[in-house]
Symmetry: C2
Subunit: 312 residues, 2 copies
């Protein structure tokens, strides 16, 4: 009984993630994510342009964010300008709202104290045009996800990011999935700059799509942003300054010495292995799963990231 | 400029949650959640049966879980038996996997050490029939959500929980939305008992629907489960015992002295106010939102819970 309990416990762990290691029919079981990735070809992976890769250093570790200049070019340029000026260094994570977002920026800008001095944006723009959507462009990757979506007429992947589009309006846009990084703004649409950014840490708040600019996606380090204590103030803002997590630095990978550049690769969303991963998620057949979902939701797709063997 | 920055910062905070306090057209703006709840009638709220309400005490605070005996009656009964025996007292949160689940149970059951002695289940059953779905029953509440769904033919709310159904098969089931509590199990379908439970802490893993029994929903205390450090072991299990969060106790509210019973109410999912909340989420018109989504996804709905004025 003890031995059985142990086996049961181990298998249970595997079971919740549907790792078919213990499956009786493992010969015919759906391949796992690890198995599919192990079979992938080198050409199916892309190395993010270091000019689009932000390295945010927290006391707890490193967060990598890939910018999305095909969708938000003005914001990417402004964020690059701020990073080059070391604008973000010494700022902080000021807000963590459960099942919604973690947000960082200048605490002095969120402060009611008239003595607070928000940091200068220097050569960066204080406000930018919205960039909530962009025209559909056949030159951009469009890998459709044919499974349907509640919020958009069409969804899929574009240039490695989860995205949606509406052929009727001719627009496409990035979607507020887990790990996507958006640009905080004021009431008016032309009031964001990238000086305050947020990342989605819960169920995807798709109602924000087309209402906020999406600057990019966290490639590594999500647990450093998602597991922070929730703020007790309104909307998850920390009500005590000591609760804020300081940002040690934010650098563009292209500004770092080559030896210090993060060496990561992202699976191409137009690759055969990515398609196989989606299919394995839709049609899972193994001893654990009684029924397969037959479908995969856009924000349930975790685009694989791996350490590269050598720095760029 | 400083004053402007301050206003901008304050408005930005409001803006991300679309609180229209600063909206120029606030006369005609969509009412906020708080406004709609303030107008609700007393009869639109229900008090969870204390026989279905679990009170889990952690060192960091209290988590309330409402059981769902209309969907998983055998599991509810078994969990009640374990709670009455104080089975869970002194167990621990053993796993936190980012963007997936937080899981608790008997650490000794997850241990490879043959000297580990899993706790006795006493009068509780060690395994139960699956209870992944149940027959559609017109006597149960069914409040349809007509917005569509990627995973199920029909979705909506049943007895206060997010749910799905398939008229073709005659089945209905609870869905793996944020905050829903599921029953960990072994590979075989009749291997769960409720001794190991998990809660969804990220994007809803709807592929698990109809593959695992859902025991209920966290009504209060999600941040105590979602903000925990992620485990560094496989699948988010803690690789060091010291990282586990101990469970001080789990009690049925009905077993507590009346003065100690939590006094909470849940908005009825078949109420007019709940319908108005969904509609406000679909069709948001205020100065912040450029476009309204027109739709609301099942797992994007946060069913309101409030403190009651007096204990039950």
């Amino acid at each position: 009984m003890h031995a059985h309990r142990q086996l049961a416990a181990v298998a249970l762990l595997a079971g919740l993630l549907a790792v078919p290691a213990f499956a009786a029919n493992s010969q015919t079981a759906t391949p796992t994510r690890a198995e599919l990735l192990a079979r992938s070809g080198a050409g199916e992976w892309r190395t993010p342009d270091p000019h689009n890769l932000l390295v945010m250093q927290l006391p707890t570790g490193r967060v990598l964010i890939e910018l999305a200049p095909d969708f938000t070019p003005l914001h990417a340029a402004n964020i690059r300008t701020m990073a080059r000026q070391h604008y973000y260094d010494g700022l902080a994570i000021v807000r963590v709202q459960d099942n919604f977002v973690t947000q960082w920026g200048d605490p002095a800008a969120d402060d009611d104290d008239p003595a607070s001095k928000p940091r200068s944006l220097g050569k960066a723009q204080a406000t930018l045009p919205p960039e909530y959507t962009r025209p559909i462009d056949p030159k951009l990757e469009w890998t459709p996800l044919p499974d349907g979506d509640v919020y958009a007429p069409e969804v899929g992947f574009s240039e490695g990011f989860p995205a949606a589009r509406d052929p009727a309006s001719g627009e496409q846009w990035l979607t507020h999935c887990y790990g996507m990084v958006g640009v905080g703004r004021d009431i008016g649409p032309e009031t964001g700059s990238g000086s305050e950014l947020y990342v989605v840490i819960g169920q995807s708040p798709r109602r924000l799509d087309r209402n906020l600019a999406i600057a990019g996606r966290v490639l590594q380090g999500m647990p450093l942003l998602s597991a922070l204590p929730r703020g007790a103030g309104p909307m998850g803002f920390y009500d005590k300054p000591a609760q804020r997590t300081p940002i040690e630095s934010v650098r563009l990978a292209s500004e770092l010495p080559p030896a210090q550049r993060p060496a990561v690769q992202v699976l191409r969303t137009d690759s055969a292995t990515f398609a196989a991963l989606l299919d394995a998620q839709r049609h899972r057949h193994d001893a654990f799963y009684k029924v397969s979902s037959g479908k995969v939701g856009l924000c349930s797709v975790d685009i694989p990231v791996r350490e590269a063997k050598t720095a760029q």
